[in-house]
Symmetry: C2
Subunit: 328 residues, 2 copies
């Protein structure tokens, strides 16, 4: 297993000692072009390859516009500064030359991705990490038979990654642990927030969460309980203001004096009742999960820290409301 | 049925022609004190009553601190301006005198609320609207037998309402339609966003949505698929950035060229698969719901408006990321 330092040294050799980190972006649609912006904004040199001429020809314009709309994130950089670090490659081989990371964002088709990863495995050196943006296909399905599979994993972004930083990292059983560690470090280095999915499952976790919420919204609308516009407002003018700063778990942790365990002792019955109504056969709010959640929350913030955190939350939400009032 | 104008005229008479609208807040905990701030910030005179002396004695301090933390929402007002409009009442009778709206926020106990609404029915004039902040008890359970029940309904806020504007409005079958209309107008007049729940059901809708998301998070953690901290990050550094400006339905509507119907044609199978896994026996993404959703979205924004809305979304999310970077 390579260590972090070994990889840095190898990287310098591959780059001819220039000190600029290099990424290859393969596929240049909504996700690929946004990834190019993520890496270039962080100072990397990005080489982009797409088999589709129209997509490739429009890339620099699209990235320029996106960088302009996103200037608030990196105010010291002009869109031109960023786009100057992006090069269009004429071939896959040219794109990956000297790259320490390859981010694949082509169509969601297992045959297309498998063939591409076979090419990437052949064209890149063993120190290069090969990551897929797939939102649904495990790396096991894409790369099972490839010699270099230990340096491959899924790095599934939200849409678009240059604005929404979270990235689901899904190693396959064959992915090297050191590669996963380096992948986390790389994502953090370019300003993203990597989270670990421990096993390959359909929808990973991000879409499971969105799916659970959308499914309940669909049921509420189907049952005539609320209109589509109002059910959207319940999140946009409700929990969305809180979740822009706090995850839902920390959100409820702050809404009872004894933290999340206290909250669930008061309201957990409601969640169990709703889950049963929707077909669940097992209880949701078990002693085990309450203990796990309370442990995780208290490791992060002791109970006596809650009031200060509530004040922080309130000031942040007030600032967000002022921001919204200014821009709508 | 009173019309909006009749009510305004009656209001002037009750107020002795002073032109200041008056609200009674009953219960002065986290929710009651936040309601006092909501109304006072909007220029209303708020009289607050609590049976608990300690809660009452600390009220003005708590509202002052909350108003100070929330100054960004109403920068022209100082906390002192706001608190000057709030009076502590010595009795329930004194609190409701001349009030056109009563907002009840006492403990979540049906017997306590029933007794209180009986008192309120006796102490207030027929033009006064009586609203409960309950998060789980339908007005049918609280007020079935009361003479004035037609002017009573649930106005369930998020926590805290002075920062999160959405309010679930849940009329009982016996609530007068004109009262519901006036209640919507009043909530909008004080800066809130009322949404209509058409039938009384446990958890109304707000907590059903939160419950669906939390339940899925608990299952993901229980199954060892992701850590509590990471699953929170998936929302906070993911969808939460989008949902601060767009509901989840509009969110996916913007993520496919043909809108939400196109999105569900591509990814709907995932949501059905996940729902089945969790015990659902009926399909989630039916032709009927897709037609309803596409109809609602297109009534609001035609397909050709999507690209401009995406640009707006992106600029808003970039501004939010800059705000977050400045305050954490």
């Amino acid at each position: 297993m390579e260590t972090h330092n070994d990889r840095d040294a190898a990287g310098v050799d591959e780059r001819g000692g220039q000190g600029v980190r290099r990424v290859a972006i393969v596929g240049a649609g909504i996700i690929g072009s946004s990834w190019a912006l993520v890496f270039a904004r962080a100072g990397w040199e990005a080489r982009v390859f797409s088999r589709h001429h129209a997509v490739r020809d429009s890339l620099l314009d699209r990235v320029t516009r996106a960088a302009d709309a996103a200037r608030a994130i990196a105010p010291a950089l002009t869109p031109d500064d960023i786009v100057a670090r992006i090069t269009l490659a004429e071939s896959l081989e040219q794109a990956v030359d000297g790259a320490e990371w390859v981010q694949e964002s082509v169509e969601e088709d297992v045959a297309v991705k498998s063939a591409l990863f076979a090419d990437l495995d052949r064209l890149t050196s063993p120190g290069t990490i090969l990551a897929s943006s797939t939102s649904s296909i495990g790396m096991s399905c894409i790369a099972e038979s490839l010699a270099g599979r230990a340096r491959m994993l899924v790095a599934h972004p939200a849409t678009p990654p240059h604005l929404i930083p979270v990235v689901e990292m899904v190693p396959a059983p064959f992915t090297d642990g050191g590669v996963t560690q380096r992948a986390f470090a790389t994502m953090r280095a370019v300003g993203q927030v990597p989270v670990l999915v421990t096993r390959e499952r359909p929808g990973f976790v991000m879409n499971r969460l969105q799916g659970a919420l959308l499914t309940e919204m669909f049921a509420v609308i189907r049952d005539g309980l609320m209109s589509p516009a109002d059910v959207d407002a319940l999140i946009r003018d409700g929990f969305g203001l809180r979740w822009a700063f706090l995850g839902p778990l920390e959100g409820v942790d702050l809404n009872a004096p004894g933290g999340i365990a206290d909250y669930l002792a008061r309201y957990g019955f409601m969640f169990d009742q709703m889950a049963r109504e929707r077909g669940a056969t097992e209880p949701v709010v078990t002693e085990a999960i309450v203990a796990t959640l309370q442990g995780a929350m208290r490791a992060r913030l002791p109970l006596e820290g809650l009031p200060a955190r509530v004040s922080w939350r309130d000031a942040r939400m007030a600032a967000l409301r002022a921001l919204r009032a200014g821009g709508t």
